[in-house]
């Protein structure tokens, strides 16, 4: 059976005009001054894509990349400045749970109100009502005004309504991260059953594991452009790479600033660079498990330093430390004088950390704990997947089936 497109986005661009004046007076004054208060901002830039029925598409990207705008454009909540979006079938948008709940109405009345906002008829709501209440798990409070609900109850009821709307196309924006764990699980199960029923889901999320777990396709947006469109696992990898470079830039800036600020007060020491090099001494950013690598930390001591130690940390993209060590632990004499430019070389023969992206940070401090210099996430590298294992650790592995004796 060939794929049936359900959404077509054709050359969609969206400009926002950011205005700072709202009152008539301000407008008149500013018109006279030549509209200096209007700035345009391009949230989406000439985007074209098709979404096929039965797919679960994850839209990811850093904040401000335009993913929510794209989702709202598909939902018809925002109209594109140029281009067009066409779609078919019944659509439900879960952009915010409980939008349209009225605090003074009871849960029951709100179910009816919310469901008819989402496009159900009275008869359909009557039919689904018990299922909705059952799913939400708040039977006892259904006739209580929702303003007395706890936020958890509120969200449960709202989600219950939304998933019973029977959509062909469901748009979800960051709402799966609510409720307690049990309820989240319930939501994810519901999404899985939606997938089995061939419903199409477009999902905006920052929880990257949801993308790899749920989606059949990942789209990465950056500054209003589609920069990647393909397998979810690659999309997530791409995005992490992107975050990395952003982080690198931020870290470099911060370092510069900190150095400038802290230099006069303490001994003037800097860590100008941290590099990962291979056995031949060439800098590298992609390594394989078991490869021999060295970590070179350059130190520039303008004032000479004694009684010091330098620590390195390798962390994954979630900030979990995979490895930490220091010159002190490795037995380098702390009283060695550090002056001028020198390089500390940490050798890691047969690197054994799991596949994934990592960052390296280094810090130089007095042994009394005063920090002298720090290079936060100074470099990044990626450990290639060897196809054998995942996770932080990596070790030679094999398996055998032992027949029972």
């Amino acid at each position: 059976m060939e794929a049936v497109p359900i959404v077509q986005v054709e050359n969609v661009s969206k400009h926002f005009t950011v205005r700072k004046d709202k009152s008539l007076k301000e407008r008149v004054v500013n018109a006279a001054l030549g509209r200096r208060h209007a700035e345009t901002f391009e949230a989406l830039h000439d985007i074209s894509l098709d979404i096929h029925s039965g797919n679960t598409v994850g839209l990811i990207g850093p904040n401000g990349s335009g993913k929510s705008t794209l989702l709202k454009t598909i939902g018809g909540i925002i109209h594109p400045s140029s281009g067009r979006v066409v779609r078919r079938g019944r659509m439900a948008a879960l952009l915010e749970l409980g939008a349209g709940f009225h605090p003074d109405l009871s849960g029951r009345e709100n179910v009816y109100l919310n469901a008819s906002i989402l496009g159900l008829t009275e008869r359909q709501i009557d039919r689904y009502f018990d299922a909705i209440v059952d799913f939400s798990g708040i039977e006892d409070f259904i006739d209580t005004q929702v303003k007395f609900y706890s936020s958890g109850m509120y969200v449960r009821l709202a989600f219950a309504v939304a998933v019973h709307v029977d959509p062909d196309l469901l748009l979800v924006d960051e709402v799966l991260a609510v409720g307690d764990e049990a309820f989240q699980q319930k939501c994810l199960d519901k999404i899985r059953s939606f997938q089995l029923e061939g419903r199409t889901i477009v999902l905006v999320t920052h929880t990257l594991s949801q993308i790899t777990d749920l989606c059949t396709r990942g789209i990465v947006l950056s500054h209003g452009n589609v920069v990647f469109d393909g397998a979810p696992i690659d999309a997530v990898g791409m995005l992490r790479g992107g975050f990395q470079s952003q982080r690198d830039a931020d870290a470099a800036q911060r370092l510069e600033r900190e150095n400038a600020l802290s230099a006069p007060a303490r001994a003037r020491v800097a860590i100008p660079s941290v590099r990962l090099v291979d056995a031949q001494g060439a800098p590298t950013t992609g390594v394989e498990i078991g490869q021999d690598v060295q970590l070179e930390v350059e130190v520039d001591a303008i004032d000479s330093v004694r009684d010091w130690r330098l620590g390195i940390a390798i962390a994954n993209t979630f900030g979990q430390v995979a490895l930490y060590s220091s010159t002190e632990r490795l037995g380098l004499d702390p009283m060695t004088e550090l002056s001028g430019r020198s390089t500390l070389r940490f050798s890691m023969p047969s690197l054994s950390i799991g596949p994934g992206a990592y960052t390296v940070s280094a810090a130089l401090e007095h042994r009394d704990g005063t920090e002298l210099a720090r290079a936060q996430e100074a470099t990044a590298f990626r450990v290639a997947d060897n196809g054998i294992s995942t996770g932080l650790a990596s070790t030679p592995l094999s398996v055998a089936l032992q027949p029972a004796r």
């Binding site: 008539l24 925002i78 979006v85 952009l95 008819s116 062909d168 089995l196 419903r199």
Partner: protein, 304 residues
Amino acid sequence: MTDIARDRAARLAAEPWIDAGVSGRGLQGFVTTIRELWRYRELFGRLTKRELKARYKDSRLGFVWSLVRPLTMLFVYALVVGEFLGAARSIPNFGIYIFAGLAIYTLFSETVGAGTSSIVTNSGLIKKVYLPREIFPLATIGPALFTLGIQLVILIVASAVTGSLSLGPHLLYALLSIVLIVVLSAALALVLAATNVYLRDVSYLVDVVLVLLMWGSPILYSIAMVRDRLAGGAFEWLTQLYINNPLTLAVLGFQEAFWQAGASADFVPHLWVNMLIATGVSAVLVIVAQRVFARLQGDFAQEL
């Protein structure tokens, strides 16, 4: 792929494409919107109910309050304008006279007033859920009709007691007035609600204009006073303008029905003709207003 998924795909393949959030151009777009609104017709009732429930929430007397307000107004105007200022001397049954005018005027002012701010008030929904946004300004008609209903009960009882109520075809004028005001205020509410999103001053301006309109129609004084003052002068054309102000026509219609049948014949020989024309013009205005609304609503989500 499961069977249910296959069926869904097959059904979707046969479904026509729709433009997301865009209803088309011109008259065809209007028809599409109306059709879509029809699909959401139950929501009008729910929004009306929500509005009414929320209005007197947690108050002991509840809907009694919606009776207190118009009765107080009636009392104050009858006393101050009627007795102190002497308007009652030339207008018999003055209480019924002003209450008839006030009732239909309230329908207009409530719809237009609430309609203007309806999009801004419902911004939470508009930014998060897709539905034809015309619903919000149009749904303000419901609660306003409810208020009118309550006032009509008082009006009918009072006019029956004072003997000004008589059965006959002139009662149809009341219906005609209501239709005229509903259609007219729907058009205004649509345009004003959309412009209010971009320029919040609109809602304040509307408040002021509504007061002007109340005094610009023969609610608290008789139309004869206006005609006599303008007669023969350079501003005689203003009389025609004044009379054909749709609000004046509706007020006259209500007075025909409940106060004194045939009272308007002096000023408007065939009131129902003028009213039908005004209703027709208003209906055309609704189409124009909806097109304006459709044009402006594209940026609602980011302007709110």
